[in-house]
Structure formats: structure tokens, C-alpha cells
């Protein structure tokens, strides 16, 4: 049954789809078929920074090579003419890009041109290119022109962000600053909607949209609904007709798109975390699936007069091929450390096996006994040799994760992040606190000033009642003593006052973390991960606000928080503004998009939530990804602008 097959293919990940689309584009816009005795075809790939950000998490340089790409170059770089080679362009249709492409045409850089625009190009810009092509008599060389609708970056099978290059434009700061004009807001919203539209075109589905009222998310929802509606009405050019949906249509049901605004939950971006991927993002320089480490080689006993040792910079790509990463990116950190140790041990065992064979081989020809031992050693040797590449790859991954996990562990130990995590979990779940907040803040050993600020902000946000003036002064003094800048606090105060949530501060569920007590060592001797003094905390599932909202909407539960969310269905003929959903059945697929920025903690929470539900899938997206440091910076900025715009406010 076709329907059944489609349901099975339904949850093809967004990463797969985007990769397939890219590969087709690289194959001269023709579906790619593997042929082991096919003739090689070579080409040159030209991209702008947007294109680069989209391609780099999905295709490695080797994979580009496999598709026949000999060179990949930035559009705005010096490029020499390379005769007799077709060029594939993958760029945004911006003014400068178009100008540069026209220049390329005039300079006759390549043999033929395959132009692919990341998002749709306007008619007038297309005419500009036509003009340049005519002037250069190069019209015949422009072989194909395509609108790719790929204007979003996929980081995981089920996670995407809007963009990286111009994320300033759609950042939290940009959306929330008080001095924004209407036109500027329009631009920001248009950018977001364009990307979301591209996302749904690539996904091949028209969602049902729900959003909260009175927020930026609502503006996005209205615009997106309008854009989808317009496209569906235009029967000739609709991007969602049957054949374009093809093999990838979602199951019988359409997906749910939940648009939320960052402001419903400001505690999660500040939260200290305990899972591997979120930790790496919080503590190290982690960006578009690449982590940059600074290795400080031991500088203890450098002889006098020697040049100071340079710190090695290493960067690693954390890809879908990395099995260890895929398995453990959501695991609590102690588990990760243990698993790395286990992998290392099994690798060593295999290595020893290979070495043993080597010594047995040395006995060859000496006596009958050895020769008979050889009988199945030949087979063993064959399998050992053929498994060598696999073994080497394993070693590389183990090294990678050892380095990364060690770096993370150093931060944890230096800043006592486990203490913060535990405490914040307790605050957010409203269990009794065994230590006073003041103690932690005043403790000079625990954490950077920023860590303390984060902790206090979470406390402030989650508190049912605002702390008394006296208490507040005490905290403020402690924070200032610890070296914190108090601006974020002021901002949060304002936010709390303004936000509708002020009366009912977001509750974070009612389960707690269990501390397994202090463990002096997690692993046996010889382990590199000496977690001395680090608590082995076990995460218990608790739903963050975003997850809760999703749960209500997806399962059609009635809840005062989500009952008055707006409802949009672009496929319906009449714009339906009611909040009454027509569809009464729970959704199988959902996409959560946070306008204003998101992070890995939220993502992980959603992943954990959906793990328990058979046959349901969630995709998580946000306008940008930030860790707590970056978020606080933005908050400070907004606060400054607030002060400038409304000096009388405070």
C-alpha cells in the first residue's frame, strides 16, 4: 500500500532531505545515481558564506570530492579562470552576489554555469544576470538556473537553525530591542519567515500553525500563514503539489508547527547543564557542529630563556558518522566519561589481538604445531587486516572524545558546575534547598561571576514571590562583591514585570535530581577521567516550559497556558482566526520553533520527551543558537537600549 510506505518514509530526517537536495544540485540538478563504472565528471563549486554554512555540517570535503568537485571557492575571493570546467554556484540572491556573478560572466571564468539560489531570486535580479550574460555573450553558457529553497542550516537529524552569517539580524537582541522601528521589524520577520518557508518546502509538508498571542511569534505565524497560503493558491507554481511532495510526504496527518517566543522562558538559556552536547556548547567554543579546543601543553618547567610554549588549537567536527557522539550526546556527563573509558579498553583489546597475531606469525615454518595453529590464523589475519581501517577510525574518535571530554571536565572542576546544576534543578523544581543561595554566591571557589549571576537570575525568575527588598539588597551586594555586573538582573526585573507570566512564573515540573553522593572516582585506576569531588548526578526527566507547551498542543490537552493560542491552517480556504482547532486528533509529527533563540538544553529536553512516545517525531528549530554567555551579552545590550530609550523607567 502506497500509504503505508509513505508513513514509513515519513520521518525521513530533515538532514537527509537537505543533503539529498544538495547532492542533486551538485549533480547538475539531476538525481544522483551511484554507478561504479561511471566516467568521472568534474566541476567547481562556488558558494557564498551562507552557502558555506549550509553545506559544511552536511557534506565533508571528501564527500564533495566524491561528487566530482575539484575546487570549492568562496564567491567573493580572487578566482582564476579555469577553462573547460562547469561551475556550480550556490549563493543567496543578494545585490553584491549578483554583481559578482555578472562579473564572473564577463570575465569568462568557466565553461558553463549552473546557478542555484539559496532562496528565491526576484525577477528584477534575474534580469540583471540576463543583462550581464547578454553583454558577455555568455547566455548559452548559463546552463541551468534554480531556486533551491534551502535557506536554513540543519545541524542534527531533527534540529535546525535559521542562519549563521546574519544572525545579528534575527537575534534576541534584534527582536526585543525597544528602539526598533516598524520597517526594521518587518525585515526581521521577513527573514525568519523566508527561512521557515524554505524549511517547509524542503520538508514537503504544509503544517498547522499554533502560536501564542501578542508576541513576535505571532507576527511570524501570521506572515508564514500568508506566504504558505499564497503559494498554495497559485496552482501553477505551487511548491507543495503532489509530485513535488513525492516520496516523503508525511503520514496521513499534517505536522504541527508550534511557534513560541523566547520570552516565555528565560531561565533555560541561563541554566547550567549536565548532558554532553549541551555542556560542550555551554563551556567550549562549539559552532555549526565544530568544536575548537585550545590545548595548553604543559608549561611547568620551561627552561629559562625558552620561548613560551604556544597553545595548540585543535578543532574537531562532530558529525553523524561519529557513532560515539550520536549515542552519547544526550547522556549525562559521568556516563560519557565512563563510555569513553570503555571504548578505549575495547580498542586496546582489539589492538592486542592484532599484535598477538603478529607474534604468532613469527613462528611460521618452525614446527608442525605452529603450522597447524596457523590454520585459522590466516582467517584471523585476513579479518584483522581488513578491520584495520575501522580500528584506526575508532582510535581517532576515542582520541577526539577524550580531548573534548577532558576539556569539559576541566571546566566542570574549576567552576564546580555540578553544584550549580544541582542547585538550579532544585530551584526550578521547587524542592527545598539545602544550601543558602547566598552561600554559593559568596563562595569564592565556586564558579565565575557569570555562573553566579546565572544562578541568581534563575532563582529570581522562578521565585513565586519576589524576594524582599532587604534580601534583594543582600544578594546584590554579594553579587557585586563576586564581580558581577548587575545589568542582567535589572533586565530580568523588567521582563518579569512586563511579561504576562509574571503572575504565574513558569513552573518547571515536579521531579528532582537525585544526587548519587560524592564519588571519589567513577572509574577504576588508570582512568583519565578522575572525577574526584564531582558529583555523579542523575538526571530525572522534567519538562521545560517549551516541552510542556508542545505536549499540550500535540496531545490536544486542555491547559490554560495554551488554550488561547492562535490556530492557522494555510490549506483552509477562509482565514480561520479562531482558537478552536478543527482537528481533534493528537499529532504524530511536530516542529517546535523558538523565535528569539534557543539552545541545546531545550533540544535535549524535547528529544528525551519524545523518546518515550512510539511513532512520534519532533523537530526543533530556533532563529539562533546561543549559550548562556552569549545570551547574557545580548540581554545586557537590550537593557542598555532600554535605559536609553526609557530613562524614566527605572
Amino acid at each position: 500500500m502506497v500509504g503505508v510506505k509513505m508513513a514509513a518514509a515519513a520521518a525521513a530526517s530533515i538532514r537527509e532531505r537537505q543533503t539529498v537536495a544538495l547532492k542533486r544540485m551538485l549533480n547538475f540538478n539531476v538525481p544522483h545515481v551511484k554507478n561504479s563504472t561511471g566516467e568521472p565528471v568534474w566541476k567547481v563549486l562556488i558558494y557564498d558564506r551562507f552557502g558555506q554554512d549550509i553545506i559544511s555540517p552536511l557534506l565533508s570535503v571528501k564527500e564533495l570530492r566524491d561528487m566530482g568537485i575539484t575546487l570549492h571557492l568562496l564567491l567573493h575571493s580572487d578566482r582564476d579562470p579555469i577553462p573547460d570546467v562547469p561551475a556550480v554556484y550556490f549563493v543567496m540572491p543578494s545585490e553584491e552576489n549578483i554583481d559578482r556573478m555578472c562579473q564572473d560572466l564577463r570575465n569568462q571564468l568557466y565553461e558553463s554555469y549552473y546557478l542555484n539560489f539559496i532562496s528565491a531570486i526576484s525577477r528584477s535580479k534575474l534580469e540583471d544576470i540576463a543583462n550581464a550574460a547578454l553583454a558577455a555573450s555568455a547566455v548559452a553558457q548559463v546552463a541551468k538556473v534554480f531556486d533551491q529553497y534551502l535557506n536554513f542550516i540543519t545541524l542534527e537529524d531533527d534540529m535546525f537553525v535559521l542562519c549563521n552569517q546574519n544572525k545579528e539580524l534575527v537575534s534576541y537582541r534584534a527582536i526585543n530591542r525597544p528602539d526598533i522601528t516598524d520597517t526594521e521589524m518587518e525585515t526581521v520577520m521577513d527573514t525568519i519567515v523566508d527561512s521557515l518557508f524554505c524549511f517547509f518546502v524542503t520538508l514537503g509538508a504544509v503544517p498547522i500553525i499554533r502560536c501564542s498571542r501578542g508576541t513576535a511569534a505571532e507576527m511570524v505565524a501570521v506572515k508564514l500563514d500568508k506566504k504558505l497560503r499564497e503559494n498554495l493558491r497559485d496552482a501553477r507554481n505551487s511548491l507543495f503539489t503532489g509530485d513535488t511532495l513525492g516520496a516523503g510526504q508525511f503520514s496521513f496527518q499534517r505536522p504541527l508547527l508550534v511557534l513560541v517566543d523566547r520570552n516565555i522562558d528565560l531561565a533555560t538559556p541561563l541554566h547550567h547543564t549536565w548532558t554532553y552536547q549541551a555542556l560542550v556548547h555551554d563551556v567550549l567554543d562549539f559552532h555549526l557542529n565544530r568544536v575548537n579546543l585550545e590545548e595548553s601543553s604543559g608549561v611547568e618547567n620551561s627552561p629559562a630563556g625558552a620561548r613560551p610554549k604556544r597553545k595548540n588549537k585543535k578543532s574537531y567536527d562532530l558529525t553523524p558518522v561519529d557513532k560515539f557522539w550520536q549515542k552519547h550526546k544526550g547522556s549525562p556527563f559521568p556516563e560519557v566519561a565512563e563510555s569513553v573509558q570503555q571504548e578505549l579498553e575495547s580498542y586496546r583489546a582489539q589492538e592486542d589481538e592484532v599484535k598477538r597475531l603478529k607474534s604468532i606469525m613469527g613462528l611460521e615454518g618452525e614446527d608442525e604445531g605452529a603450522i597447524s595453529m596457523l590454520s585459522d590464523n590466516t582467517a584471523k589475519l585476513t579479518s584483522a587486516v581488513s578491520s584495520l581501517p575501522e580500528l584506526l577510525e575508532k582510535k581517532r574518535l576515542i582520541d577526539l572524545h577524550t580531548n573534548v571530554a577532558t576539556a569539559v571536565l576541566e571546566h566542570i572542576k574549576a567552576r564546580k558546575l555540578d553544584v550549580y546544576f544541582e542547585y538550579e534543578e532544585k530551584i526550578m523544581s521547587k524542592t527545598t534547598l539545602d544550601k543558602s543561595l547566598l552561600d554559593i554566591i559568596s563562595d569564592p571557589d565556586a564558579g565565575t561571576p557569570e555562573d553566579k549571576m546565572r544562578l541568581f537570575l534563575i532563582y529570581y525568575i522562578s521565585a513565586q514571590q519576589a524576594p524582599s527588598e532587604a534580601d534583594l539588597e543582600q544578594y546584590k551586594k554579594a553579587l557585586t562583591d563576586a564581580g558581577c555586573n548587575l545589568n542582567p538582573l535589572q533586565y530580568i526585573k523588567q521582563w518579569k514585570a512586563f511579561a504576562k507570566m509574571a503572575s504565574a512564573p513558569a513552573s518547571y515540573g515536579n521531579t528532582t535530581t537525585k544526587s548519587m553522593g560524592l564519588l571519589s572516582r567513577v572509574m577504576n585506576t588508570g582512568s583519565q577521567f578522575v572525577m574526584e569531588g564531582v558529583k555523579n548526578l542523575v538526571l530525572k526527566q522534567q519538562n521545560l516550559p517549551v516541552t510542556r507547551i508542545l505536549d499540550n498542543l500535540m496531545e490536544m490537552k486542555s491547559n490554560p497556558e495554551t488554550d488561547d493560542y492562535r490556530y492557522f491552517d494555510p490549506k483552509m480556504l477562509r482565514g480561520n482566526d479562531s482558537s478552536v482547532p478543527r482537528n481533534k486528533n493528537p499529532f504524530q509529527e511536530a516542529i517546535v520553533f523558538v523565535v528569539g533563540g534557543g539552545n541545546y538544553i531545550e533540544y535535549q529536553n524535547l528529544v528525551d520527551y519524545i523518546k518515550g512516545k512510539q511513532g512520534k517525531h519532533i523537530l526543533y528549530g530556533c532563529s539562533e543558537l546561543f549559550n548562556a554567555t552569549q545570551f547574557i551579552k545580548q540581554v545586557k545590550c537590550v537593557f542598555h537600549l532600554l535605559l536609553l530609550t526609557y530613562p524614566k523607567l527605572l
Binding site: E39, L71, I82, V85, A130, A136, V139, Q148
Partner: protein, 312 residues
Amino acid sequence: MAVDITLLFRASVKTVKTRNKALGVAVGGGVDGSRDELFRRSPRPKGDFSSRAREVISHIGKLRDFLLEHRKDYINAYSHIMSEYGKMTDTERDQIDQDAQTFMRTCSEAIQQLRAQAHKEIHSQQVKEHRSAVLDFIEDYLKRVCKLYSEQRAIRVKRVVDKKRLSKLEPEPNTKTKESMFSEKVSQNPSKDSEEKPITEEYPEKIPAEAQPELGSWGDGRGEDELSPEEIQMFEQENQRLIGEMNSLFDEVRQIEGKVVEISRLQEIFTEKVLQQEAEIDSIHQLVVGATENIKEGNEDIREDSKIRLQD
């Protein structure tokens, strides 16, 4: 899904053309434009490099087609019993092997030549990179086509080995009757039967060794024309034992053959790896030599320096 707007583009080109005409702007921008047109009309000078690269590719393509065309006949094991259409003698197969090998050799030489010449006269880093990548692709293509060849050759060799094995050892039902015949014949005629020659050639040591005691024990009945029931039974048992031994020997040989094939495969892998390492070892050698030189010079300098210092 991507949207093909090539037609839209062509329409835009037409629009722009008509608009330019209407505005009086000459298409192609006047004198320069006409020159460009002329330039365009003459065939674009195809790079020497790329035309030769394409030549090599088409050669390899021919080789591939040649191999694929004859592949079916080549690996057809039963061609000696099929009609003329499917037949391919061994000499023909050898011919194909030889031709393919010479072809492959010429192709890889051509690639080496191209590689040497590719980097001359070119100053642009990008073009150099592009060319070496193109050559890598061509080499890879050649490798893939060579794999075709080596696969079918491996199949042929295996079939030959199998055939030899089958022809040396008779299939089981025949073995039994032949064994009984053998034992009878032994009683009548101690010399070995010509039919059994292939088997006995194979296991000369074992059979005489086994045969001797048997001959000895049958020595009594040698002269008799009829065999008593006990003797028949003994002969039967003997037959069974011999059959068992033959079978186990047969198994052993099969195992050994398997090992040999594996070993040859391993050797292939090792050769490949060693060749790969050759380049690395060469470069290491260079580095070491350079380093030794540097150290020597360094020592000299230090010596001179200390001499000078002492003098002061």
C-alpha cells in the same frame, strides 16, 4: 524542492534584449561586443590539458566496454559444452587478459605523463589544484575499471582450480565402485590400474602405504579365483576405510586451497599498503637526511662560535 527557473531566465534574456533594442542600446555593447561575438563564434580554445584528459577517459571507457562486452563469455565455465555462439577458448581468454593488461599499462602511463605536464606553464594555484584533482578522478576511474578485470580474472582462476580438483577426484558413487574394482583388481593384478592413476598420482605415499598391508593380508587370497565371504567382507571394510581416507584428504586439500586463496588476497593487500608507504618512507628519508645536514651545520657553527669565544 528546488524549482527550475531556467525557462524564466531565458524569458528574461528575451525581455532584456527587446528592452535594449527599444532603448537603442546595442546588444553586446558596440565594438567590444562585436569583437566578443567573433571571439565567441570561433571555437573556444579548449585547454590542451582537458582535451588530453578527456582522451584518456575515453580510452578507459573503451577498455571498460571491451571488458563488459566479453565478460559473459569470459566467465562462462561451460563454454566447452555450449554451442559456438557462447564459446571462448582459453587462448582467447589469455588474449583478452594480455590486451587488457597492456591497455591498463598505457592508460596509467598516459596519466603519469599528464600529471608531469599539468603543472608546467601554469601559475595559478587554483588551476593546479583543479588539475591534480582531475587526474585523481581519472586514476580512480582506471582503478575501478581494473577491478572489473581483476574480478573476472579471479573468477576464471577459481574455476580452473575447481575444474582441476573435480577432474582429479572422482565423484562419490563412482569412487565406491572404482574402489571395489580396485580391490578386486589388486587381488588379481597387483599393478595399479590406469584409471586410478590420477588418484594415486595425487597421494602416492598414502596409497602404497595403505595398499602394502592390504596386499600383505590379501597375499593369501591372491592366487584364489573365488573369494570367501569373510574376505569379501574384509574387502568391503577396506573399501570403506579407503573411501573415508580419500574424503578426509580431499577435505584437507580443499582447506589448503582456501588458505592459499586467502593468503594471496592478503598478499595483495600488503603489497598495496607497502606501495602506499613507499612514498611516505621516501619523504621521511628526505627529512632525516635534511635534519642530519642541519645538525652537522649547527655543530660546526657552535664549534666555531666557541673557538671565537675562547679567543676573546
